[in-house]
């Protein structure tokens, strides 16, 4: 793969199972060193996408190139360069942590010695060195995830598929795993495809996100791009100490750059075109004799973006965050 080539390019990827269509005409791509988050609820098609892109499942239709290879005709070659963390850590409980890594290392073409050395070093790095020779059976979920992550990195892959890497982890372990994933992309230049339904980790890690519902891609881009696409209006929350009086609401609504003004318990919610409109909104309040105790101009966060997309996808505008045009 050339330096400028995309790591993942897929077009109109479709796959059905007897239970129904799992993925419908998915078109996405990923750049080298990027963290691409596949977001969506359970059953959205995230894991199916990961399995298709790693050549484990075959599509009904569509095309893909991953690391410059055809996942379905050059699957073995592709999988030499990818590492996968499955949702269930997938460790064999009858073996020790190191034996689990050694088996995978051997199947990846390493000598026994090399697999043990590399596995041991990674377990140390993930603070599991002291349990390397202990059977996995008694490990906590966090310990299993760390061993599984070490296994995914054993052969220094160019592309990582991480399926729900923090599910079942406590907050401290979640933070450790999120930091680790961040460093894999930022410091080591690996491309990461992150399947998750946790918006927090996606928000911290993802350069771009693909939002899936019922196998259909509903949005794809950077969180900012998606917000800009969804939010034609800018939200300003005014703390006036009391609900805004009707004359003030009328005055705010009369401003040319204001789309809508609504009275709230503590003041008013005003939707303008952009951030630069905030001073004139505040000036209007002052001019109407209303004291302004606080101004909260609010950019949409990832959660807003996600739920706005979900509301659009499910056709239920009532679930959309405030400020999203119906």
């Amino acid at each position: 793969m050339g330096a400028s080539e995309r790591v993942i390019e897929c077009e109109a990827l479709t796959r059905s199972f007897p239970s129904g269509r799992a993925l419908d005409a998915l078109t996405i791509d990923a750049e080298p060193g990027e963290v691409l988050a596949l977001l969506g609820p359970n059953g959205a098609g995230k894991t199916t996408t990961m399995r298709l892109l790693n050549g484990v499942l075959l599509p009904d239709s569509g095309t893909a190139r991953v690391l410059g290879l055809d996942p379905w005709r050059q699957g073995e070659e592709l999988r030499r360069h990818t590492g996968v963390l499955t949702e269930n850590a997938g460790l064999d409980e009858r073996f020790t942590a190191l034996e689990n890594l050694e088996f995978v290392g051997r199947l990846r073409g390493m000598s026994e010695r090399e697999a043990r050395a590399r596995g041991g070093a990674l377990l140390e790095q993930f603070e599991m060195g002291h349990r390397a020779d202990v059977k996995v059976q008694g490990f906590s979920t966090g310990q299993r995830k760390r061993v599984a992550l070490a296994r995914a990195l054993l052969h220094d892959p160019e592309l990582l598929f991480l399926d729900e890497p923090t599910s079942g982890l406590d907050p401290a372990a979640t933070r450790a795993v999120v930091d680790l994933i961040g460093s894999l992309a930022a410091e080591h230049g690996r491309t990461v495809v992150l399947c998750t339904h946790f918006l927090g980790e996606a928000g911290k890690l993802a350069n771009r996100m693909a939002v899936l519902f019922h196998g259909v891609l509903h949005a794809f881009g950077t969180p900012d791009d998606l917000a800009a696409e969804l939010w034609s209006r800018f939200e300003v929350r005014l703390d006036l100490g009391a609900p805004a009086a009707p004359p003030l609401i009328a005055a705010l609504a009369a401003l040319p750059q204001v789309h809508e003004a609504i009275a709230t318990d503590q003041g008013a919610l005003v939707f303008t075109t952009e951030r630069d409109d905030v001073p004139s909104v505040v000036a209007t309040c002052v001019a109407e004799g209303s004291p302004v105790f606080g101004v909260d101009p609010r950019d949409p966060n990832l959660e807003d973006v996600y739920f706005a997309i979900e509301a659009r996808a499910t056709g239920n505008p009532a679930e959309a965050p405030a400020g999203v045009p119906a």
């Binding site: 790693n54 499942l57 073995e76 592709l78 460790l91 051997r106 990846r108 296994r151 598929f161």
Partner: protein, 280 residues
Amino acid sequence: MSARRAGAADADEHIDWGAVRSIMRRDLMAVRRSKAVVLPMLLVPLLMLVLLPASVGLAANGGGLDPTRFLEMVPSTLADPVSRYPVNEQVVILVLGYLVAPLFLIVPLMVSAVLAGDAFAGEKERKTLETILHLPVRAMDLYIGKLLVGFLPSVAVSWIGFGLFTITANLAAWPTMERAFMPTKLWTMMILWIAPGVAAVGLGVMVRVSVRVNNTQEAQQLGGAVVLPLVILAVAQTTALLLAGLWPTFLAGCVVWAVAIWLNVRGARSFTRDRMAARL
């Protein structure tokens, strides 16, 4: 044309014996560590192939067993060859030479069924299959590795069991027979030629069953329903084979192997990554 219909092919059709060995090594190590798998695999053959012949041999030495009435009830094809021996040897020849023969086909069937169930359905049950499917190992190499993990121990248990049976039978019956009467050419043919074929048939059945179910228990139950008629067939036919002679036994072995190869080739063709992943 979709990739599924086109049937995405592995570019390299050669078997990667390194991968096969790694899979076998890991699974055999796991089998050794699993009492639930090892105990029935060793105890049942020990009971059937060592304790049973020892008991019969020792009982025959006491001279209290007279098979005459029994021989009058069985078909002449079985009774005639046994009747040619002196009366005190007839019990040993009848039981150890003919009647326990089916056990040697039940043992490889049983062992291969236990191991195949663990090797294929066990991966799903332990949730380790997906990890393996994401490795750079061809489905064919995985299939061969798993198949050999079931096949080699079942043949080894049969052959070692037969060795122990031969020693036990000859020692226990020595006071009566005053010679080593086992193994005969027919027995050797059955153990070296038919028993491995039967193990391969058992594997072919169990692999196909295991791919379709979600855990070892289901595999054993469903597999048992398919393997049991084979066991009955084996029991019914084995003694007759020993009476039929060397060539018919060899030909029967050819039929068993043909069925085994057909089952396993079909199994290998249907053992695709996509099919396995779609059932996860």
